[in-house]
Amino acid sequence: MQMNMINLTIDGKAVQVPKGTTVYTAIRKLGIDVPIFCYQDRMPPFGACRVCLVEVEKMPKLQTSCTLEATEGMIVKTNSNPAVEGRKEILEFLLINHPLDCPICDRGGECPLQDQTLRHGPGESRFVEEKRHFKKPIPLGPVLALDRERCIICARCTRFGDHVAGDHALEFIDRGFKTEVGTPDGGPAESKFIGNTIMICPVGALTSRVYRFRARPWDNLSTNSTCTLCPVGCSLILDSRDGEIMRTRSQENREVNDIWLCDKGWFGYEFSSNNQRLLQPHIRREGKGSLEPTTWDEALNYLSQKIKEAKPHGKLAGLGGNPLTFEENFLFQKLMREGAGVNHIDHRIGGSLLSAEEEGLPSGMEITIGECEQLSYAVLFGLDLTEEFPIIWLRLKQAINRGAKVLFLGHFAPEISAYLKEIILHAPGDELQTLQKQLPYIKDIASQGKKGAFFVGRQYLNNQNRAAILFELQKMQESNTDLSLNIMEGRGNSIGARLAGMRPDKGYRGEKIELPGFNALQILENSAKGGWDFLYVVGANPAKKYPTKLWQKARANTKFMVVQDLFLTETAHEADLVLPTLSFIEKSGTFINIEGRFQALLPGRAIPETLLSDADIFIQIAKRLDLEIARFNVDMREYQIGSRLKWDRPSKIESKALPLDVRNAESLRATFAIALFDHGVRMQHNPRTVQLAKEPKVRLHVVEATKHSIFDGDIVQLTTKEGAIQAKVKVDNKVALGTIVIPLGFPELPAHELGTCLVNGLEIEIKKEQA
């Protein structure tokens, strides 16, 4: 170790750093303050802003410390007159065209340029000319605004797109003093991570259109919490002022999100302050008339009365749980199992409903998200990483920057294709054959690398052959201890819901249930067929997840339905009782992410007086049923490694392959894709973020389109045995032959009408709609 250490002297103080360290890092190690703009420690040195100048003995000129590698015996002076004057001059240069509008600038108060000018800058400027003018601000998409006059061309944002996100969303336009930040095609910035550029902008040039002019940073109250909008569960900071949420920021967490967030994390909080939010319970008395506001007492008494009435017949069910905390899920299943006496509970609304036996292995990651940076190879089996687990892409990109090879097998090429070594496309249903054909190649890649990972995504998991696929992959993993098998499936806190026992066949922590209840689909089918007494829907919208025919019949034959949600959803409209609840911004509790990490939620704003959390509602109901359930503290130390869960996976799973019917040459097989930005209930109530969603279109290859004389932008009719819908087409040659990609989560494209169980490989007849 000593061999690789370098000794140098900075301002007379000796310091030892590893070989390859920059002088700037060594300076920071001593706690000496040197200003810096273009350098950002997650990206390679750039040396453009020139503000970190220091004097180095035996070097004729001042040196930029961020680009200079420390060498043995180097003598650095940060406080000598030339160095101090040099930095002053650079700061003067930076300020000559920078408007001094700090009092109205969003960045004021947390602005590196402001802070460093105060400490290191010249008191006055020699510049008496007119400053540079640009039209400002200009919008770069729904969430980003650019003030070109404030920009100091440090290139942090453009390099973020090159080195970190890989999307090249922002680029420089023109040169010299006319240089400005823009997008490659002049349109909105195409990125899922653009919020990060606002964070790393060292001035107020890039600002959030959601947060713009809403608060001064020193007025904000910050709370550390967790984003629950996808299963990654990034650590974030909620900033509030006067009890209102102003913005969210990333919180550094090396294990999960590093210092980044996706745009859902940066901007997806607005729904919590939307004025359409439900603020009091609503009741439809005697099942007639309209929903009317009521008191919590009446609502909860009415609800517990209905449970008591229905309990003897056992026709009660509970649906939902993904947006709830782990503790709330625990209380919900306990209320349903012990208070209502049934096992008819499920959190997988509209999701894949393969039973525990068919699943083979439960979802979850074996490595931590942070470890993705150290991989030397990875294989993505049908995983659209940026749409489902955006932050994991940023971590994996770091591995790719270091030379890791990443392969993709699946139904359509993901948007990160440019960084993948190989993309193997095949139609849904051909997973097993493709896997067997590619095994030697995958084994070859694996044999060259050290630490590797398989990531299995929904194209392979929401699949008839799921167990057989996982069996093959587990077999490969057996012979390779450096290989991890990561099963990437989840929505929100679905892993927390599963572990809390929100399923008909497994209890808390996977306890065996003697008499398994119905799953979500069976509950609806049974109510549609034989009538039902009581249905409790929490944070879910089954009306838009199942074919309308099935749902309407099920609803008509259900005597009493209670919906607990933030908004009056389509399901809530039809309810007999609607209970308002809290969003993740206002909750405390635990979120269990895709790697099994316990992430804590804390309320980031004042909880509205008229609202109760889901947990409090469940406890109040239980009280009225004389059931003792109390607030619940996670104590799962025995199950944990560090802050993560140990997955109890069966050591060997059964291989069960269910062959699909031979495909009709005219029809296509569907693969159902989810998007990071969709038009789900919460996203619909984010006025800005909702605009980030792309227009929903079904996608197919040009060869398939030609067969049916379909052109880009045509409207087509999609038909299955169970239903039919209309959709707009996008011809996309990144889709495998024989495949149609159908997006989920858009009311304009009601894919749920196509079937009760949307498993990939579903056969679709496609016909051009006559105009």
Partner: protein, 438 residues
């Protein structure tokens, strides 16, 4: 001293662009001589001994540069810098338009020396004729087995790609040129690593000027000793001087290094009738002015460096007594302002600031204090910039102020309050509002 035409020996012959004529005039004898009978290492040694210095401006020893290339890596590149964009420079254009095979022969020799199998000619995009001529010459050379696989039956293969640039001065800087060649913005790269170690696509790359590579041909043909005898010690060989501006016969003139400024000007026909020599930039615009008292200075790398000017590209921009030095300074600084790539702060902000001050002086709003500010800001701009562009932007203006201060003062005296400091115009309110709903 009379002209000594080596590189320009056949430049006047209309058919020199044809391969047969080039051969007839002794062309491609250097490659015949070198491949395969001289080993690459020996070839580098010959060029080292000849003392050939780079003709692109910096005057670095060519043989030494070639020696930096690591021997053990398989892929290497040669890039011929033909982005000639220094104001007043037009020698490369002449060489590629009139004698393209001389350059190709030089490229073959250099590529052979460093064992590169691909060479790029990064040409200034506006050289339409030159690019067409080069492309035809490359095609012809390939047809005649001078390029392609296993040249003259040796194990050495070479392809040449002619790449037109997109019009940026900074693309003449070697690392910016590599970025541009790779398809990125032409902005300079961090050094180290130097291109000889990690250049184009991260592979060892040598970047040489057109004139340098043409010189290699004659070094190999006639030997290092012959070459060393031309010119002065440590400044061997001939140099194409491009004389422009207020002179009788502007054009290219080839002299041994060390020729006096007076001889160059006289050969170019001397000053216009009734005019007197006032000043000149000896090596393109990015150097300090020479004035009438320097008329007998020796035009070589070391003498001009000692004079705190530079030989640069040996582009002599001549100004006679009618030249207005304030306008010269203003115009030149505008050039650097427009050509700054914008990557680093001092260059991007400093050049524009200087233009603003010079424009104000020229329009009669200057103060004596401004001259001090120009000198101070130019000094810090040149000292702390990322690449040599700003280093070159300062001396033409600073030397103009130093040598011709009275002209600047005359403009300043137009200002009714030359001692009063100007006041900054406030940059608000905004010029236009933008509809943020869109």
């Amino acid at each position: 001293m009379p002209e000594m035409r080596i590189l320009m020996a056949h430049i006047d012959k209309p058919d020199q662009t044809q391969l047969e004529n080039y051969k007839k005039n002794g062309g491609y004898s250097a490659v015949r001589k070198a491949i395969p009978s001289i080993t690459p290492n020996d070839l580098i040694e010959i060029v080292k001994q000849s003392g050939l210095r780079g003709r692109g401006g910096a005057g670095f020893l060519t043989g030494a540069k070639w020696g930096f290339v690591p021997k053990d890596l398989p892929v290497k590149y040669l890039v011929c810098n033909c982005d000639e964009s220094e104001p007043g420079t037009f020698k490369d254009r002449l060489l590629i338009e009139k004698d393209p095979h001389q350059l190709i022969e030089g490229i073959i020799l250099a590529s052979y020396a460093i064992n590169a199998n691909t060479a790029f000619i990064y040409s200034r995009g506006e050289f339409f004729e030159g690019i067409a001529t080069l492309r035809k010459a490359v095609k012809d050379a390939k047809l005649h087995g001078l390029l392609g696989k296993n040249i003259f039956g040796s194990s050495f293969s070479l392809e040449i790609i002619v790449h037109p640039g997109a019009g940026a001065y900074i693309a003449g800087e070697e690392t910016a040129q590599l970025n541009s060649l790779e398809g990125f913005r032409a902005t300079p790269r961090l050094k180290p690593p130097f291109p000889a170690v990690s250049g184009l696509y991260g592979k060892p790359t040598i970047i040489n000027n057109v004139e340098t590579l043409c010189n290699v041909v004659h070094v190999i043909n006639n030997g290092a000793e012959w070459y060393q005898k031309i010119g002065k010690p440590k400044n061997s060989g001939t140099k194409i001087f491009q004389v422009s501006g207020q002179i009788q016969k502007p054009g290219c003139y080839e002299f041994p290094l060390g020729v006096s400024l007076r001889e160059v000007l006289d050969t170019a026909g001397g000053m216009l009738p009734g005019r007197h020599f006032k000043a000149c930039y000896p090596g393109g615009s990015s150097c300090s002015l020479l004035t009438a008292k320097d008329i007998d200075i020796a035009m070589d790398f070391d003498t001009l460096m000692a004079r705190k000017s530079a030989l640069g590209t040996a582009s002599v921009i001549v100004m006679d007594d009618t030249a207005d030095m304030v306008k010269v300074a203003h115009r030149l600084m505008q050039f650097y302002q427009n050509e700054s790539c914008g990557k680093c702060t001092p260059c991007r902000e400093g050049t524009r600031w200087m233009v603003q001050i010079l424009a104000r002086i020229e329009s009669g709003g200057g103060t004596i204090h401004d001259l001090k500010v120009i000198e101070q800001v130019c000094a810090s701009m040149a000292a702390n910039s990322f690449c040599p562009l700003a280093v070159g932007a300062a001396p033409p203006v600073v030397s103009a102020i130093q040598e011709f201060k009275s002209e600047f003062e005359a403009y300043i005296n137009l200002n009714p309050h030359p001692s009063k400091l100007p006041v900054m115009k406030v940059a608000y309110p905004y010029l236009e509002t933008v509809d943020m709903q869109k």
